[in-house]
């Protein structure tokens, strides 16, 4: 039958334009701040100006006297309701509003609830807090030094700032590898604190209905279901009386995973006042108090024997801020940092990590990264580059010789991961070919003769994304599984409900394409719904590149369940045996008699009108997916830079990025993700920094000082791909949202270092700002 051949279902592999963009580019998105409810009040915080101080007293009388102010909430008031402290995602506690002490600059001290946001802001200026300043602790080294002030004296028996010690790998085997090595190469480096800085800051509208007791909280949440459960545990509200609605989200990048005091205070205030309360964070509030990323001090040593990497030893000291609020799986104190062996077959490795409290904002979220994979990837890719220079070898050849080979998969790494699939050399070869590597090395040598500095940097990263397996990975005890619920309407249109939540990733398109692929519907016939906990299945949400690996798989599986039922209905309609039917592109036909066929649309209609006797009506299902393993996307990035010897500025001439994320569902969306990730990777390498002065003031508290690149600075990207499917994912897909942010920083830094490497320069710390390059140029005798 000719009809079926003409009908191309735009499922996997089609660059379908994003359905959600229609409303975004028309300004018709619906973000939290767009939500306006009758009788709604506004919340504004007074934040601590000091990094560390004891609170002697808080006088709110002048603020309360301002016309339009409804209430001023302090920690003391919250304490009366046992809400002054809340649990963090890492099993610590965090102050909702400060009671005893302030522990970082920007910490929430009091909240004004008023009839307008202007009045609330005015009133915060009138709250008089009497502080007794305490010495601020601004680095983990300082925190762990003898006699350091104890930041968390609220914790019973806590007499130091040490949070955790955690290790992975085999210390003895690693020791032996180092003892037998020809050469040991070392790199000490710092992955500085940066911030996800989504375009939309955090916020919520909390609406506790005094009549029904139901709390509806519209909030900027990447994980609405997990948040609902945590709200139930924190506030003691019955979980069925809590509804979290995560509307359109203007970027998350990990920043919207934790629970923040704003959500808690607004909900408590709404409960107490019986009116909806809106809290919308301003940019400074977002940058100085919500989940930061990185802040890892790392030391890596690589043992090399006969040109092969034989051992890796890593020590890491983490700056966790005032509360241990990292968003990460429970049993991984340093996230997935132990992926630090990267793409290399290193037989022995040992990773030791320590965490410390400091007087800085808490967080430790993964800024577009799967639980600290970025730090690990940065360290190994910088260390490998350093080792190549020390061995007098081309960094590319050194990498190639030490890659995990395709025939070694599934590959068990020395720190305990089982890599699913990969072809690292294939990706590298493609990247070098696109770059014209050999020619560039020649050009670099010639340029040096003329006194010009060109650098070529490469990173061949492997990351680990798509948690869990649920038995191994949980957050606050919740298994990292996700659900998908699919309902086919009688006319063959479908609604897919997911536990994950897009913050701009294009879920409404990608997931519709998965259904399209599995059921032969067109993707525009599938509406994807997310974010409303009353109407979507349970799951842990979108972060750590896990939506496609987990919910994507769940979607596939639920569609396949439905197809099974559809097959039974088709058999009924075609009066054939189920086993005699074959499935192709949205229709079942009788084997050997293709003219006897029925479409998925006909089957859907029949599901409500004409089902076999004894069959349950409808055509719908639900599936909760527990991934058997993580997925391991990888790639090869190469960057060429030119250095201005007079100013230390570096200009990117070319970027080649070859990614392998297995099967690509919507290639356009994948490329968009990679470009966004490369931009953020470039940003971190070049300019993004949350820094603190000696008094604990946050430098980087606004977008004048926290530098986010615009299209002017951002280089053009030349993308390439290879495809090595994941063997355990139903579609062969791997997560990709974060690959580029993970891989890119090392490529950029390696490029700048490479320009100066001939003069002995081995390291430059991020962000690689012109002044740092200038100092390196002077010290290397290359100043101009």
């Amino acid at each position: 039958m000719a009809v079926s051949e003409d009908r191309v279902v735009r499922g996997i592999g089609h660059s379908v334009k994003r359905f959600e963009d229609g409303r975004f580019i028309r300004g018709r998105g619906n973000y939290v701040d767009d939500i306006v409810l009758p009788r709604m009040l506004h919340l504004e915080f007074l934040r601590s100006p000091l990094a560390h101080a004891r609170i002697r007293s808080i006088d709110t009388s002048a603020a309360e006297a301002v016309p339009g102010v409804v209430a001023v909430v302090t920690g003391e008031l919250l304490a009366q309701h046992s809400l002054a402290w809340m649990p963090t995602l890492s099993g610590d506690t965090q102050a909702v509003l400060a009671t005893d002490k302030v522990r970082f600059q920007g910490q929430e001290v009091a909240a004004v609830i008023a009839e307008s946001a202007y009045v609330a802001k005015d009133a915060t200026e009138l709250i008089d807090v009497d502080y007794e300043p305490l010495p601020p602790v601004t680095s983990p080294q300082q925190a762990l030094a003898e006699g350091a002030p104890v930041i968390r004296d609220d914790k019973e028996g806590k007499d130091s700032n040490h949070i955790y010690s955690w290790e992975a790998g085999d210390a003895a085997a690693t020791e032996q590898a180092f003892a037998e090595a020809d050469q040991v190469v070392e790199l000490e480096t710092f992955y500085p604190r940066c911030h996800p800085a989504p375009l939309e800051c955090c916020g919520c509208v909390a609406d506790v209905d005094p009549a029904t007791g139901k709390a509806t909280i519209y909030m900027t949440s990447q994980a609405p279901h997990a948040h609902r459960t945590l709200f139930a545990l924190v506030a003691g509200l019955p979980e069925h009386k809590i509804r979290i609605v995560s509307p359109d989200i203007g970027g998350g990048f990990g920043n919207k995973v934790p629970i923040y005091p704003g959500y808690v205070v607004a909900t408590a205030a709404s409960l107490l006042l019986g009116q909806p309360v809106k809290w919308i964070e301003d940019r400074t509030g977002n940058l100085i108090s919500t989940g930061f990323a990185r802040d890892y001090h790392m030391r890596g040593e690589l043992a090399v024997k006969d040109g092969r990497m034989t051992g890796l030893r890593v020590n890491m000291l983490s700056d966790n801020g005032a509360f241990f609020a990292d968003a990460q799986p429970t049993r991984c104190k340093a996230g997935l940092f132990h992926i630090v062996t990267g793409s290399y077959d290193i037989p022995a490795a040992h990773v030791q990590t320590e965490g410390a409290y400091t007087n800085k904002a808490p967080g430790g979220v993964a800024y577009r990264c799967s639980f600290r994979v970025t730090e690990a990837s940065y360290l190994i890719e910088r260390l490998v580059q350093t080792a190549a220079y020390e061995l007098g070898e081309d960094p590319v050849e050194f990498r190639r010789r030490n890659f995990v080979r395709p025939d070694q998969f599934p590959y068990k790494s020395a720190t305990g991961f089982t890599y699913d699939s990969g072809d690292y050399e294939g990706a590298l070869d493609l990247a070098l070919e696109k770059l014209g590597y050999a020619d560039l090395r020649r050009e670099q040598a010639e340029a040096r003769e003329r006194g010009e500095l060109i650098g070529i940097g490469v990173a061949t990263f492997t990351e680990v994304v798509g948690a869990g397996h649920g038995a191994e990975y949980d957050i606050a005890g919740l298994r990292m599984n996700d659900g998908a619920e699919l309902r086919i309407h009688p006319t063959g249109k479908a609604v897919l409900k997911l536990s994950v939540k897009s913050q701009g990733q294009g879920h409404e398109t990608t997931f519709a394409q998965i259904v399209a692929e599995e059921l032969g519907l067109q993707p525009e016939d599938v509406e994807v719904q997310e974010g409303d906990t009353d109407h979507t299945p349970y799951g842990l949400g979108t972060y750590a590149s896990r939506s496609t690996p987990v919910s994507g798989a769940a979607t596939s599986m639920v569609a396949r369940k439905i197809r099974k039922k559809a097959q039974k209905i088709a058999a009924h309609l075609l009066e054939a045996s189920e086993d005699d039917l074959e499935w192709s592109s949205g229709r079942f036909s009788v084997k050997g008699a293709p003219e006897k066929s029925t479409t998925i649309q006909d089957i859907a209609f029949a599901a409500y009108t004409n089902i076999p006797e004894g069959m349950e009506g409808g055509l719908e299902g639900v599936h909760y997916y527990d991934p058997p393993n993580m997925t391991y996307p990888f790639g090869a990035y190469a960057v060429v830079v030119e250095i201005d010897r007079g100013t230390g500025q570096w200009k990117v001439r070319k970027v080649v990025a070859v990614d392998d994320c297995g099967v690509r569902i919507n290639p356009m969306i994948v490329e968009g993700q990679i470009m966004g990730g490369l931009t953020e990777g470039f940003a971190i390498a070049a300019m993004e920094l949350i820094d603190f002065d000696e008094d604990g003031n946050c430098i980087g508290a606004n977008l004048m000082d926290y530098l986010i690149p615009t299209s002017w600075e951002t280089p053009a990207f030349d993308l390439g791909m290879t495809e090595t499917p994941s063997p355990h994912h139903p579609l062969g897909a791997k997560g990709v949202g974060e690959s580029a942010t993970v891989g890119a920083p090392a490529a950029f830094v390696n490029a700048v270092v490479d320009a100066l490497a001939h003069a002995g320069v081995r390291n430059l710390e991020m962000p690689v700002t012109p002044d740092k390059v200038w100092v390196a140029l002077q010290e290397a005798g290359l100043g101009g």
């Binding site: 230390g648 004048m704 600075e713 700002t769 012109p770 002044d771 200038w774 100092v775």
Partner: protein, 291 residues
């Protein structure tokens, strides 16, 4: 954005604006482009009691060249300068500075006169116009007076303008038939304030330098005129040695402080490098004019 409470007036004539400024005195503030004032109000570092918005006053947006030089009206936007053919060539220092100011959104609204009145030591117009030898015309209750930029800039955000005065024009003297210049800016990203800026404006007569203007951005409490460098250039032939010497003198004139943008040494060194590059470019531009 939630600024403190303020009154807002939008006069339609200069006289009306002046009357309002006189009424509010120190509590009043002129709103032109608002690209510096509004962020300060948003952060509540500035909370003026009243804004006098001059944007509705007709005839304040002319940018024209006369026999004496350029007249830049108080509502001339950065974008107008960026697109002006008049500024290219002999007023190259201004033409080059304009597109480097902040980002396109700011340039669409921000004004040259407002930037001078704001006197941000990291502002680009301050040094570009200092190098060009500009002066402002200030109109107040007792009439109009002319203030050279050397006297206008008193310190960070501080000028010799009275709160009752309105800048009614910026004037740039004609640099003579052969002149060239440029503005070099080190910024961390587009839209950033300068880490270092160097403005170079040179007029030539008979193959030697006539007047040279060199001014520095962001390396002191106000825009700095590199007077010694200017004097060393006056009457000299613009050869390598002269350029290097002048660049050294300009670097010495800088009063940078170490901060998170770099050390004082670094900034001073960039002043030297930029002055050298700027003078070479100015010389080339003047040669181009000659052709």
């Amino acid at each position: 954005m939630y600024p403190a409470r303020f009154e807002y007036h939008a006069p339609t004539s200069v006289d009306e604006a002046l009357a309002l400024l006189e009424r509010y005195g120190d509590e009043g503030k002129v709103l032109a482009g608002g690209q510096s004032l509004i962020p300060l109000m948003k952060l509540r570092f500035a909370s003026p009691g009243a804004l006098v918005d001059v944007n509705r006053i007709q005839g304040l947006d002319t940018l024209e060249e006369g026999p004496e030089g350029l007249t830049i009206g108080p509502l001339v936007r950065h974008r107008d300068c960026e697109r002006s053919q008049t500024l290219r060539g002999r007023y190259g220092v201004l033409a080059d500075a304009a597109p480097q100011i902040s980002d396109p959104i700011v340039r669409n609204l921000g004004t040259v006169a407002g930037s001078l009145a704001h006197a941000d030591p990291q502002g680009d117009w301050g040094s570009a116009l200092l190098a060009a030898g500009a002066e402002v015309e200030a109109t107040g209750p007792s009439g109009t007076r002319t203030i050279g930029l050397d006297d206008l800039f008193q310190g960070p955000f501080t000028t010799s303008l009275e709160p009752t005065e309105l800048v009614t024009a910026v004037r740039v003297p004609d640099p003579g038939p052969r002149a060239g210049g440029t503005y070099l800016k080190l910024e961390r990203k587009v839209g950033d304030f300068a880490t270092v800026g160097v403005a170079v404006h040179v007029s030539f007569a008979n193959g030697t330098v006539g007047r040279a203007g060199i001014a520095l951005t962001a390396v002191g409490p106000r825009s700095i005129r590199a007077t010694a460098a200017e004097e060393a250039l006056a009457g000299a032939t613009l050869d390598d040695d002269t350029i290097r010497h002048a660049a050294e003198l300009a670097a010495q004139a800088a009063e940078p402080r170490s901060d998170h943008r770099g050390t004082a040494d670094y900034k001073r060194s960039v002043v030297r490098v930029f002055t050298e590059r700027g003078l070479r470019k100015a010389a080339a531009a003047a040669r181009e004019e000659e052709r």
